[in-house]
């Protein structure tokens, strides 16, 4: 009952129905992958849960609590967010940027306290970016920057983390690092909801998957239950090759029309 529970979520944007009757749960300690083709409504689902877009219908609860009843700050303390592309508009130092994650815990007049500072140091060490603390974010490489932005989200200390394609535009090594950090978060008891395009990552890193198709849930459950040939062909119009190596499962898509 401590999880993030979404049921009957429907969203209409600009007259278009983006999501209809979507339900899923994220339990503490789990990584839940939200997958689906472009336009299936993954990002919108995340934004609706976070209150960035207003749902038309649906019930979103954290534990027993309806998020509608929470103040923006209370909601912010429970749900943290890694936006897609994660823009940074000013060249702040990495440490101050990570410190922004403490915002929901401070009064409008307060700056980060010593306790916040300890938390900032902790998450920056965890994401291996403490040595970058005095660098301006504009001078960081893509991989360094994504770790700093992840640390920013972790600094919120929320029980649930929602990440929108955190591995996009990263090279393979940094993609793996980011996914390992996500796993680390769930190992510490957080519930992680992550939008993924890489089906191999979905298979290997997620405890549960929710496959969206045309605004609805096509399948949800364990990766093995969701990533069936039939489901993937319906949702992505691809076939997949599967193999195992070193005890790990892998999966690579190829064109459905025999290509």
């Amino acid at each position: 009952m401590n999880g993030l529970h979404v049921s009957g979520l429907s969203v209409t944007l600009g007259g278009n129905r983006i999501l209809s009757d979507v339900s899923f749960d994220v339990e503490p300690g789990h990584v839940v992958g939200l997958i689906g083709a472009n336009g299936a409504g993954k990002s919108t689902a995340l934004k609706a849960v976070l209150g960035i877009v207003a749902p038309e219908a649906g019930d979103i609860r954290v534990g027993e609590q309806d998020v509608v009843d929470l103040s923006p700050r209370e909601r912010a303390k429970k749900l943290s967010y890694v936006p897609q592309g994660a823009p940074v508009h000013w060249p702040l130092t990495a440490e101050r940027l990570v410190g922004l994650g403490r915002t929901p815990h401070l009064t409008p007049w307060q700056d980060v306290t010593d306790a916040d500072q300890a938390m900032i140091r902790c998450v920056m060490q965890e994401t291996d970016c403490w040595h970058l603390r005095d660098r301006l974010v504009t001078t960081l490489s893509g991989g360094e920057r994504s770790r700093v932005l992840l640390a920013r989200t972790m600094a919120v200390g929320a029980p649930f983390m929602l990440a929108d394609e955190p591995t996009s535009s990263l090279d393979p090594l940094h993609q793996l690092q980011v996914m390992d950090i996500m796993r680390g978060q769930s190992a510490c008891g957080a519930g992680v909801l992550v939008v993924l395009h890489d089906l191999s990552f979905a298979l290997r890193y997620c405890d549960r998957l929710v496959l969206l198709h045309q605004g609805g849930v096509l399948a949800s459950g364990s990766p093995a239950e969701v990533l069936t040939d039939a489901n993937l062909e319906t949702a992505f119009q691809v076939k997949v090759a599967r193999w195992a190596e070193g005890g790990e499962q892998f999966l690579a898509p190829h064109a459905a029309n025999g290509g």
Partner: protein
Amino acid sequence: MIRALGQNGMSLNVTLVAIILIVALMSGMFGQVDLDLVQLGTAVFGPADSPEAIIVRELRLPRVLLAILAGASLGYSGAALQGLLRNPLADPGVIGVSASASLGAVIAIYMGLAALTPVAIPVMAMVGAFASTAILMLLASRDASVLTLILAGIGISSLATAAIALVMNFTTSPVTVQEMVMWMLGSLENRTFDDLTLAGPFIVAGWIVMMGVGQGLNALSLGEDAAHTLGIDLKRLRWRVVLGTALSVGATVSVCGAVGFVGLVVPHMVRAVIGYEPRRLLLPSALLGAILMMLADILTRLPIGHGQLRLGVVMAIIGAPVFLYIVFKTRESMR
């Protein structure tokens, strides 16, 4: 030394306050009648009927106080708007309040209201500022994205500028046109405590509305969605900055004329010392704005161009090269 100040926001602010006091003293001393420190002290604290006392208390004191209020308003609003719009080119003019206040003043001059009462021009300018803010709020109230806000502001600004041209077009007397142009170039000359009591409350009200927006502006560095998920009420933040700017800058323009560049340049000067964090820029920008305004006002008293040098002109002439220098210096980090 400047680097050392940048490490600590508090010592920068203390330094700026000290400079404000020194420049304020200079502003009390220099003018058509130069006074030394002793004469200035006697004028302020001694008998009220000496010529020096009249000059200082009736003319220079309100001028200094207005320069501080006006400069601080322009500096603070500029820093807040740049943070809100996440655009280093934003200044208080971007929401259309300066042009609209100028329109109000030009109409007052056109209708000859200034002859009836000396407060006619500032009152009409404030009416212009508030009318434009009301229109902006109507246009951009529903789901006001930052882009809508900027575009609506530019539209209002253009409309007000066009209306100013139209009023000038219809003005037959060259003397009246001259009066309009001189007003728009900005000045603190011959301002009295009446101007101060008229504009002061609105300026301070604007500051109060904008107090404590720093945390929200900091969060906005990560974009609107991320700021929202950090618990920031974006709609409220937007209207606090817009309304605070409208009040304080509207009132500033109404008594000083349209003085440009302070709101644009000052945040950049502060960034060069203290970095880009929007919250840390706010107070130093207000303090530096006050300093620049007083310095520019002192320069207008120099016997250049037969004492005709206007505040807005001095500010732009100093401000633009400083701005270009900063753009040149910071071009690396803006990439």
